[in-house]
Symmetry: C2
Subunit: 301 residues, 2 copies
């Protein structure tokens, strides 16, 4: 199935206890695309500024990502983010952020992408998410992300988006903030009441929770001693999940559970190296091997 993602493309500067990188390719839609690419063809819808290096465009193209929806805004600058991780690296501290082109109008979905069947709306203003979604003719599966800013300031718009999607993938802090529920099972149920038929709550190094109508599934993160750079881990998780679901073309509870495992494994690759290096050369075979090992680890009777 065709998988479309819309979200941010950024130029990142990142510091972790293990080193730092400056001016590298990043952004939610980029991590998602790199993560989903081994599973299924990916269509990217996003905007960049005139300063976006051609070299970065080549990196995306080389991963096989369809760039027909990548719009270069004349007179604008690309989104830039600078962040720092310390201690257990569970949360990024934003050092500097320049929204630039992200503060302008949303990108358009090109006509060639309007037949996309699986759609991931990475984090942006919830009204823009709905406008983007409206441009897809007959999606089979629509999933969104969001962030604390919209939960706090754009709650009505966000609830309208939640009523329009099939699923949501967010982190634990956001789930608690959105629902006022401290317990994540209660939080997931409360989010389902807003509309999505499934909810995935990412818990960083502690794994992820999937709530469907029938059941709750919780799995741990893959044990990883060498965490170098957590940037993009959540988007890589979503990319692995949605890439798998789009490839399967089936979205029932059992397939969602299997997708959860793929998302977990994909994120584990992402954090092992700086920026996109953990995902860059990963093949389907690499992922399958690690999925099998994680499945064995969890198989206890």
């Amino acid at each position: 199935m065709s998988l479309l993602v819309t979200g941010s493309i950024g130029i990142d500067t990142v510091q972790t206890p293990h080193g730092s990188v400056e001016g590298v390719l990043g952004g939610s839609a980029v991590y998602f695309s790199f993560a989903a690419a081994p599973f299924t063809p990916v269509r990217l819808v996003a905007t960049v500024g005139e300063d976006f290096p051609d070299e970065f465009r080549q990196v995306l193209a080389k991963r096989g990502i369809d760039l027909a929806g990548l719009e270069t805004r004349v007179g604008s600058k690309t989104f830039r983010w600078s962040g720092r991780y310390e201690g257990d690296m569970n949360a990024a501290e934003t050092v500097d952020v320049s929204l630039n082109v992200l503060a302008e109008a949303a990108p358009n979905v090109p006509e060639a992408f309007a037949d996309s069947r699986v759609v991931f709306l990475a984090n942006t203003h919830p009204t823009l998410q709905r406008e983007l979604l409206a441009q897809i003719r007959t999606p089979q599966l629509t999933v969104c992300d969001t962030m604390n800013l919209w939960i706090e300031n754009e709650r009505e718009a966000l609830l309208a988006t939640l009523a329009a999607v099939d699923g949501i993938i967010i982190n634990d802090g956001e789930a608690r903030q959105l629902t006022g529920q401290m317990n994540l099972i209660d939080a997931a149920r409360a989010i389902r009441d807003f509309g999505p038929r499934f909810v995935v709550i990412k818990k960083g190094e502690h794994g992820a929770l999937l709530a469907t109508e029938d059941e709750i599934t919780v799995i741990p993160a893959r044990p990883t001693a060498d965490v170098r750079d957590p940037t993009g881990a959540g988007d890589s998780f979503a990319g692995g999940m949605l890439g798998y679901l789009a490839a399967e073309g089936c979205y029932d509870g059992q397939t969602l559970r299997r997708a959860l495992l793929r998302g977990t494994v994909t994120a584990s690759f992402a954090i092992e190296r700086f920026s996109l290096n953990g995902l860059r050369d990963r093949t389907k075979a690499d992922i399958d091997e690690r999925v099998a090992a994680l499945s064995r680890m969890l198989s206890i009777n």
Copy 2:
């Protein structure tokens, strides 16, 4: 196999967002014994004061716990602990503590218990742990717990204890404090270098990690929306693990992994109700049913 536990017996007062109880039976050895009892006969070695209610003694006897090692100290008072849980209830705040009889000499292991094969040394001064261990003639499996106080103030004594046991079950904060390693896999490996051939790190609501020579296993906690009282969850976890291991009489990697699942399920019963009520009436069949469900939840390929 005969399972011996030595640790504290307390009279607890506990407040959580869901209610409070006052003057109830508690303590590490009590939770452990209640948790292990469905798996195997339990021998309890501990001291109480003259004020210890006969009613509490009956509660222990009714669970089938062998009280030949329960010593009542004339002129002493029973250990008392008062604690409070707030918010996500992941950590207890100690409101008041009176060591009383716990500040005196350690209990003696009665001759009838000296042939015990599986031994759990619940948290106490590490030198006392070794003195107690020395009274067991030919243990097959010895496991200890510890706490921040000894890690900080009695490091040499603790390292001597670690060199003498087969395994340790501690929480994530203690593992980090003991080793200086933030990553729990690194921390578990560092603790194995101190002597124990296996290390279990409890992560509260986030599950547990088992490190053996060959492998790392991480499993989540059983998803539980109705957490009433986390008191004794860690000791219940240890009781479920060691009870299962003692019943199996086998301590290889695969059996340890299966024990990890039993510990997880046992802890999930403990936290559902106040004080010992979550464990009190649980049978082996109750545990087996929940183990099977958790095993199914984790079975994803």
